[in-house]
């Protein structure tokens, strides 16, 4: 028997005796003594409360687009994400140029996409595009990584990037400043909606990495004092129109 079979056999053996349901304080199915096989009464996937209902108990993301926007803005300010809701793509480009000037960016990194291509062109800085591979040292030398995202989450102030359509695994985490370009209709209420949207986008062909990014990189490992930019970006900017 190989190791896989050995472990699975041990699991099956262990599971012949049923365990009490959660919250029953040690009583298996009321006061009856446990008996082998009674698990069939709990088919796989059974929940008293289906998971998609769980959102009702979680922190709220809002129901209207205006609520989503307000919630995302509030979460961003708590997380120290620089979130700017602007009126047009041109305004977003202008905001990006101002940031680039203030921080003195010389090199930026990005990936090819309608939103990023236009922004990088408007920025007029040397740009490294990660599509099709890149030398990691070159990416490390960039002052900013400019990406798109799949979806943004009002409930948590998060956004989702992936390894296929957001420029790879490192682009959004290696440069010290991560800038995300997004459209308003990418903002959804909560995580349940976000996972649905991500699944709809990628369907059967999942990227190898999907990351829910919530604020800039942070740590509290020294006396529980918040420090930004532990290993990932010190700054996260979201430009949305």
């Amino acid at each position: 028997m190989n190791a896989r079979e050995r472990i699975l056999a041990r699991i099956r053996e262990a599971l012949t005796v049923p365990a009490p349901k959660p919250g029953s304080h040690g009583h298996v199915h009321g006061s009856h003594p446990p008996h082998v096989g009674s698990q069939d009464a709990q088919p796989i996937g059974f929940r008293n409360r289906p998971v998609h209902e769980a959102r009702a108990w979680l922190p709220k993301g809002g129901t209207t687009p205006a609520e989503h926007l307000a919630r995302f803005a509030a979460a961003s300010s708590e997380l120290k994400t620089d979130f700017r809701s602007v009126d047009s793509e041109a305004e977003a480009h202008a905001a990006l140029r101002r940031i680039a000037d203030d921080e003195g960016w010389r090199r930026v990194a990005s990936h090819h996409h309608a939103l990023t291509d236009a922004a990088v062109a408007a920025l007029g800085r040397t740009a490294l595009f990660t599509d099709g591979g890149y030398p990691p040292d070159d990416l490390e030398a960039c002052e900013a990584g400019i990406t798109t995202c799949d979806v943004l989450v009002a409930q948590t102030g998060s956004l989702v990037v992936n390894s296929r359509t957001s420029g790879g695994r490192a682009l959004s985490v290696l440069p010290p400043h991560h800038v995300v370009l997004a459209r308003r209709d990418q903002l959804v209420s909560d995580l349940t909606d976000a996972f649905e949207r991500v699944e709809a986008l990628h369907g059967r062909q999942w990227p190898s990495m999907i990351s829910l990014v919530t604020g800039p990189s942070r740590t509290g490992d020294i006396e529980r004092i918040l420090v930004l930019g532990a290993h990932g970006p010190k700054k996260l900017t979201v430009l949305m129109w």
């Binding site: 190989n2 190791a3 050995r6 472990i7 041990r10 699991i11 099956r12 053996e13 599971l15 005796v17 365990a19 009490p20 349901k21 959660p22 304080h25 709990q42 929940r47 409360r49 998971v51 769980a54 009702a56 979680l58 922190p59 709220k60 979460a75 990660t130 591979g133 890149y134 490390e140 998060s158 390894s163 420029g167 790879g168 695994r169 490192a170 985490v173 290696l174 909560d190 995580l191 349940t192 996972f195 999942w206 990227p207 190898s208 990495m209 990351s211 829910l212 990014v213 919530t214 990189s217 740590t219 509290g220 490992d221 020294i222 006396e223 529980r224 420090v227 930019g229 532990a230 290993h231």
Partner: protein, 464 residues
């Protein structure tokens, strides 16, 4: 008494007298509590969310064979190599083999308690590899050559001054009192490592059966980098990490972050479903997922305590435990400390050697109350005590309880005992806790109520 028990007693005795340590832990945990309460109150219904999570984990654990097989086959379908490791040495040797085959020199690692469990770093260092911990807290304790203090906050027992001294000594940096600067020193030291490393090792928080993905929770971005740049990635996880569906994360991510660190969700929650796929620009060309049993199936075979496998390692039970808050994380001498460590260590490493941990509890139930997946922790401590006595009964206790039962069941004897008690009371008071007291180990730190001057019966008789 086992060696582990003796060490526990000695370490606990000295650290509870250490006021500096106590102050540090109390301050850190007060901050945690304030943040956690704020985030908990943003939930519409915290207790319903916990119940739902408990049911989800119940489903996962009680159909573990099905979900685990699904998880593994989905991973394999996209080019991931899955390794099944029944024991600690097998897991260690599997990973050593992967690293040898990849001809690696430098290895970066992000936080993984399972790696502590199998003593991976020691083994790899013995093989001549450089292993760098990339999580800031882990990096600090690695420089100090000690195990993590807490499963979520590894360097919680250190002040910024101690960390500054450590960095000065080990990294040659200038002393500073600013946590920000200290963090930047570590950031600079580790940047090169990510770029040089050939292998990245990570742990995992959840294994999603439906899609064949692992989910890694972190704040710093170190796990993201560890799994982005090196050409080989190794992920080590316990078989109990399974969740049935992707959408389960919509509940588990906020629950873990709120209970564990007082955050709505942590900074990065990343799903990995394979090595670099066609058309992707970076990522490891090889990904190995190592599934570790290491006696988890023995815990699974105990239906009474099976729910201990629901644990999502949030650390909430440690944070609220009055014992943990006094004796600290290192005193336990285990990979997993605090209430959950006291519950599972006897299953993982032997009941008789580790039963003392279940006695180091006031049974206040704060842990059970705090647990986001509703593990019945304090009852499990009681069950461990019962099982330990059942396996190896103490004859002194048996005789004592028999005698006690006989006396209290015989009215004449009981009355006589009361009389005797009253007479010897002054002597008992004087001897209490001294070496002459036969029950010294109990009475040294506890007061007994004085024997009453008269019994209720006498009082009643005199009143009439």
């Amino acid at each position: 008494m086992s060696i582990a028990a003796q060490q526990f007693l000695e370490a606990a005795g000295s650290i509870t007298r250490n006021l500096r340590h106590r102050g540090l832990i109390q301050t850190a945990l007060r901050k945690y509590e304030a943040a956690r309460d704020r985030k908990k109150s943003a939930f519409n219904d915290w207790s319903a969310a916990r119940q739902s999570a408990a049911e989800t984990k119940w489903d996962a654990i009680n159909h573990l064979d099905t979900y685990l097989a699904e998880f593994a086959s989905k991973l394999e379908a996209r080019g991931t190599k899955v390794h099944w490791c029944p024991t600690e040495p097998e897991a260690r040797d599997t990973i050593r083999g992967i690293i040898r085959d990849s001809q690696a020199r430098c290895i970066v690692k992000s936080k993984a308690m399972t790696a502590e469990e199998i003593h991976l770093n020691e083994a790899l260092e013995k093989d001549g590899f450089e292993v760098v911990e990339s999580d800031l807290g882990e990096f600090i304790v690695q420089l100090r050559q000690e195990p993590p203090y807490h499963i979520v906050f590894p360097a919680m027992h250190l002040t910024r001054d101690e960390i500054s001294d450590l960095f000065e000594r080990e990294l040659g940096s200038d002393p500073t009192r600013e946590p920000e600067e200290l963090t930047m020193i570590a950031r600079r030291a580790l940047r090169r490592k990510y770029l040089q490393a050939d292998v990245g090792i990570t742990g995992a928080n959840f294994a999603i059966a439906e899609t064949g993905m692992v989910s890694i929770t972190e704040n710093e971005g170190n796990a993201r980098l560890t799994s982005a740049l090196p050409r080989v990635m190794v992920t080590l996880l316990g078989i109990e990490k399974v969740l049935p569906k992707l959408e389960d994360l919509a509940l588990f991510l906020p629950l873990l972050a709120t209970a564990g660190a007082g955050q709505t969700v942590t900074g990065y929650n990343t799903l990995y479903g394979g090595p670099r796929q066609p058309g992707e620009s970076d990522g490891p060309v090889e990904w190995h997922v190592v599934l570790l049993d290491n006696r988890r199936t023995e815990l699974l075979a105990d239906p009474e305590q099976r729910d201990a496998l629901h644990c999502i390692r949030c650390g909430a039970c440690l944070n609220v435990c009055p014992i943990f808050r006094n004796v600290g994380g290192h005193t336990y001498g285990t990979t997993y400390s605090g209430p959950v460590g006291s519950v599972i260590t006897p299953h993982l490493r032997g009941l008789q050697d580790w039963k003392h941990l279940s006695n180091a509890s006031s049974l206040c139930g704060a842990c059970t109350e705090a647990c986001p997946v509703k593990i019945d922790l304090h009852h499990h401590l009681l069950q461990n005590r019962r099982n330990a006595v059942g396996d190896a009964p103490s004859w002194i206790e048996r005789v004592a309880w028999r005698a006690h039962a006989f006396v209290v069941n015989t009215p004449a004897l009981y009355q006589f005992a009361q009389e005797v008690g009253r007479i010897v009371e002054p002597l008992r008071r004087r001897l209490q806790g001294t070496p002459l007291d036969p029950a010294q180990s109990w009475t040294r730190t506890r007061d007994l109520p004085p024997v009453a001057g008269e019994s209720f019966k006498e009082w009643w008789r005199n009143r009439r």
